[in-house]
Homo-oligomer: 99 residues x 2
């Protein structure tokens, strides 16, 4: 799970995220997305749900929060780039955010 | 509560924070501190406790988390700088972090 994705795996696992608001991060083999909610409670509620999944899967986002906005960056330090765990967590975050 | 602190108020309210690991932020009238915990559960547990106080006081941090580290910046947008709310929240965060 923590090996860097191959080119064909990227097409299969990362491209659907890029089509759903994620973008490649400049200068890093990482993806990022900004989630915007109605207010702080909604934003932090999302982070709380995500945190439990991140810990369960032992794969944690780099993220920041300013009021109702949450910026998330996903990459796998052990793999020095994107792994299947990033694809899995990214898809989960989209689900948790409601779309 | 949301008026920018005067010089004498800064000495009284902000200086104790600066003596406890907070620092002025370059280019902004804001303070920041990095809290480091044992692991992600401890770090996010801190954020969760802090989030409830932030919402209760309607004063929210700008913050980021990478695994066991939490970077916090405090300022008051309405006041265009540091207010008493930042001093109050900063002190609370120190208490919640255990020191």
């Amino acid at each position: 799970m923590t090996e860097k994705l191959t080119d064909s795996e990227r097409v299969e696992q990362i491209d659907p995220l890029l089509a759903n608001g994620w973008a490649m991060t400049d200068g890093r083999d990482a993806i990022h997305k900004t989630f915007v909610f109605k207010n702080f409670v909604e934003a932090f509620g999302f982070m709380t749900r995500a945190a439990i999944w991140a810990e369960k899967w032992n794969h944690h986002p780099e993220w920041s929060n300013v009021y109702k906005s949450v910026d998330v960056t996903l990459t796998t330090h052990d793999a020095d780039g994107l792994s299947a765990l990033d694809a899995k967590l990214g898809a989960k975050l989209d689900t948790l955010a409601g779309g």
